[in-house]
């Protein structure tokens, strides 16, 4: 089937294309305008902006900790009004089914779940397979697991560490590797209550820095396209900017991604010893080209924090609202679920301002990524409002007017004039994520790309415009029209597939037998377990 999208304003920075023009889709791919081709389907995009489908690189949409949060908080997600039966189960509040639909309506077509516990990979992929329409991907968590820490302690060769990382990524069908407060979850099991970059996990004598450096080297050595994804130590603490700065400095020329930098953008100035250090961090990011970051913007309101940083979540138990939490010591990281309400008080306002400052002061839109760390800073449903804040200084001023002056006085936000352009939005949410994840088939509108296309009707009201797309295509299927789902389909999970080293598999088999009394089969699964047609799509490693 041949589709012609005509009259729209194309914004495709990856191909340096901008301005009015047609876009052609044949079956699931974008194609060159065919000579004298007659479209089977014509889409009138007059008055619209046409972009590639958006890619979210960091959003907690499925897996053990996310599901625990759902279980903990039934009162927070009462179901919605009934929708047409063409979208089964998408009436359910905060279900996988709803997640896929809500993302699609905003023109997002690929979402990365960034915190998959390797032991719970099957559970995670089952949830993602029940998340309709969009493609998904996962990052496997390493860095608090006994196997890796023991290898580092025992000075295992870089090749052996690579074999372990490759096996983990392959067996769990991950697209990359994440390390979360490296070493802290292991140290917490030994009753350590605070943990910084040069602190050492007692039983292993291994520092957080060494874990990060080991994993960074392995990820780079294996040619995994996405750099090691780092959740730093001391998340949320006043003065955490120092930790983020130390971690950035440790990149040492090799790619490194720092997650939700907003949560580290805090200095210790002012009466409350809590201030914005965003300008300092932005300058460091600007001067460290091998570093990429995502924001983890805070937006006000009720949410729930879901993190595999079990030490941090344990420390935050007292802030829970409502007053109930789940804290789990896992095989590696474990995690914690702490419901939280961001108030527009002093602290909440500093956090809100820090995120926006980072967005606006980091100059290169190819290295800063659009996230709220869903749902940790805010649910992803706040994205339209956040786009509006980035694209309009007036919108920021209006929002800031309701916030405590004392909080904003400790931030540079009010002095920043920058407004994001559609071109920059397209880089930050399309072209750059595709590049960062190694997904050459998306994030742009060039011939050969998968036909993931988001079309927005121009509107003065940015939140309205970007919150409900006029049309969305996923793999060439028209899935959204006028902000409503028109077609249900199943996306895939994008994964790497490095071939496992046989000696490593034998070692892991022995390890699981000895330490858990179970064969390695208990921790692996065949694709058929997902019970969907071709649930995965392979992405190549760099050669």
């Amino acid at each position: 089937m041949l589709t012609r999208i005509s009259g729209g304003e194309i914004v495709d920075p990856a191909n340096r294309r901008a301005g009015k023009g047609d876009l052609w889709i044949e079956d699931g791919r974008i194609v060159e305008a065919p000579q004298g081709g007659v479209a089977d389907r014509a889409i009138d995009a007059t008055g619209c902006i046409v972009m590639a489908g958006a890619i979210d690189i960091h959003s907690h949409i499925g897996g053990g900790n996310v599901n625990t949060a759902r279980l903990l908080l039934p009162e927070q997600h009462a179901a919605h009004l009934q929708r047409p039966a063409a979208t089964p189960l998408s009436n359910a509040g905060w279900s996988t089914f709803e997640t896929g639909c809500l993302y699609a309506k905003m023109g997002f077509t690929t979402v990365v779940e960034p915190a998959m516990s390797p032991g719970a990979a099957l559970h995670t992929h089952l949830e993602l397979a029940d998340t309709p329409i969009i493609d998904k991907a996962t990052l496997a968590i390493l860095g608090n697991d006994d196997f890796l820490l023991s290898m580092i302690r025992d000075n295992a060769s870089p090749a052996m560490v690579e074999d372990y990382v490759a096996w983990t990524v392959g067996a769990t069908r991950a697209l990359g590797v994440k390390v979360i407060n490296a070493g802290a979850a292991a140290a917490f099991k030994e009753d350590v209550r605070t943990f910084s970059f040069d602190d050492v996990v007692p039983s292993y004598g291994v520092s957080s820095r060494r874990i990060v450096k080991t994993l960074q080297a392995a990820v780079n050595g294996l040619g995994i396209p996405h750099p090691l994804h780092v959740h730093c130590n001391n998340l949320g603490a006043a003065g955490a900017a120092d930790t983020a700065a130390e971690t950035m400095a440790a990149a040492e020329g090799v790619p490194l991604h720092l997650a939700h930098l907003q949560f580290y953008g805090y200095g210790t100035e002012g009466k409350r010893k809590f201030s914005s250090a965003a300008a300092r961090l932005a300058e460091l990011v600007n001067g460290t080209p091998e570093v990429t970051i995502d924001i983890g913007q805070v937006m006000f309101g009720q949410t729930v924090t879901i993190s595999s940083d079990v030490l941090r979540q344990f420390s935050a138990r007292g802030t829970a609202s409502p007053k109930k939490t789940v804290i789990r010591d896992g095989d590696g990281n474990g995690g914690g679920v702490v419901p939280y309400r961001y108030r527009n008080d002093f602290y909440g306002s500093v956090q809100w301002a820090v995120g926006l400052e980072l967005f606006l002061l980091i100059t290169d839109p190819w290295r800063v990524f659009f996230t709220t760390d869903h749902p940790n800073g805010a649910p992803f449903t706040t994205y339209p409002a956040l786009f509006a804040l980035l694209m309009s200084r007036t919108a920021r001023e209006e929002a800031a007017a309701a916030l405590p002056k004392a909080a904003l006085a400790l931030s540079t936000l009010s002095s920043i004039e920058r407004e994001y352009t559609f071109e920059e939005i397209a880089i930050m949410t399309r072209a750059a994520p595709a590049k960062l994840l190694g997904l050459s088939d998306r994030g742009h509108l060039g011939a050969g790309a998968v036909a993931d296309v988001a079309i927005y009707r121009r509107d003065e009201d940015i939140a309205k415009m970007l919150g409900a797309a006029a049309f969305v295509f996923k793999d060439g299927d028209l899935v959204v029209k006028d902000g409503e789902i028109t077609h249900y389909r199943w996306g895939k999970a994008l994964r790497l597939n490095p071939s496992p080293d046989k000696a490593m598999v034998r070692r892991l088999e022995d390890y699981h037998q000895q330490r858990y009394g179970l064969s390695l089969d208990w921790f692996t699964f065949p694709d058929s377990a997902i019970a969907r047609e071709e649930p995965f799509r392979e992405v190549p490693c760099r050669s």
Partner: protein, 362 residues
């Protein structure tokens, strides 16, 4: 081999499917109860949405206590593998499912390799008179506060740990306190079989208190593996644990209202679809309802309007199941699948008949 019956008469699966779909289509208030694997659960919930049914697990009461602990209070838990490798003090709290004796024997008689103590001390609270057989000779110390129940014993234990005086002190408390002081990582084992929800909450209070000064956690051993597996799938599919109903077209979670046993007894339900692939469980008493039965059976189930013979998950066909040994979902591959259809296959066929035009989510 016969796999479907309408009443007592053997029939083609397609006809039985059509008949079941007709019964569901004309039902005003259908209820589902199941004991099945993840894909069976997913299919059942998808069908429940389509026909406006309420659903529950067959062991719904114990499961409801476990989910209520999370929804009302939260918990500190530990993965079973980590409990095995780190738990140098095990406290068995209340009754644990017999099915886990093998796992518990392994736990009681192995050594925590990540603990410098390399040994386990075992305590029992409210476990009945006899020493549990899984101890297999391993030494254990029983704790009790006079003749009080489990919740009161845990309350006394918590108070004494906090240095408060109690009217009925816990026997052997000094041993317990000494063990706690020496332990690097005490683990309290519990299950929803314990019929006192207050005891489960009190246990979590104790664990939280202990973490003020040192580490400790609890190991949740679900009353039913399939029940907890179904709770996980139900939660990602609808946002809610079982005892959820679709009467109004969207899922509503209400552990009292959608207690299937209660709905049948109260005469609210007018059709019962039951999926039982493991050991056959008796159908809840009450007004005799038209019954659609999916079970591993060679003959029609007495009184059922429709019976489907299905295979047992993980025995007759590959399955995804929750396993207490890993604390997560595992894939079970069978060497050779039997000819019996899975629960998911039959339910999916029924769903296709109920509204063939609509999309099917799984």
């Amino acid at each position: 081999m016969a796999v479907a019956w309408i009443g007592n008469r053997e029939t083609l699966v397609e006809r039985a499917v059509a008949h079941a779909a007709t019964l569901l289509g004309s039902s005003r208030c259908p209820v589902f109860s199941f004991d099945t694997d993840i894909h069976g659960t997913r299919a059942a919930i998808a069908l429940a949405e389509r026909v406006g049914a309420a659903y529950d697990h067959i062991e719904g009461a114990a499961l409801a206590r476990e989910t209520a602990l999370i929804t009302d209070k939260g918990a500190m838990t530990i993965a079973p593998g980590e409990a095995r490798r780190r738990g140098d003090m095990l406290v068995i709290v209340g009754d644990l499912p017999k099915e886990y004796d093998g796992f518990l024997a392994d736990l009681a008689n192995s050594v925590p390799d990540l603990s410098e103590r390399n040994a386990r001390e075992i305590f029992l609270v409210g476990t009945g008179r006899a020493m549990p057989s899984f101890l297999n000779g391993a030494k254990a110390t029983r704790l009790a506060a006079g003749k009080t129940g489990l919740a009161a014993t845990l309350a006394a234990l918590r108070a004494q740990c906090a240095g408060r005086k109690v009217s009925a002190p816990v026997s052997k408390f000094d041993d317990f306190a000494a063990a706690l002081a020496a332990a690097k990582f005490p683990v309290f084992l519990f299950s929803g079989l314990t019929s006192d929800t207050f005891a489960l909450e009190m246990l979590q209070g104790l664990v939280a208190d202990l973490n003020g000064k040192a580490r400790a956690s609890s190991l949740h051993l679900p009353a039913s593996e399939s029940g907890w597996g179904s709770a996980l799938a139900s939660t990602w599919m609808t946002g809610f644990a079982p005892r959820t109903g679709f009467a109004r077209g969207f899922p509503e979670f209400d552990p009292w209202r959608f207690d299937i046993g209660r709905m049948i007894l109260a005469g609210e339900a007018d059709l019962h679809l039951r999926v039982s692939t493991g050991k056959p469980a008796p159908v809840p008493k009450g007004k005799t309802l038209p019954l659609i039965m999916l079970a591993k059976t060679l003959k029609p189930v007495a009184g059922a309007a429709v019976t489907f013979a299905i295979g047992e998950a993980g025995i007759d066909h590959d399955a995804i199941v929750y396993r207490v040994r890993t604390g997560t979902l595992n894939s079970v591959a069978v060497p050779a699948a039997s000819a019996l259809p899975s629960a998911a296959e039959i339910i999916r066929s029924i769903g296709g008949h109920v509204s063939p035009e609509a999309g099917w989510p799984c």
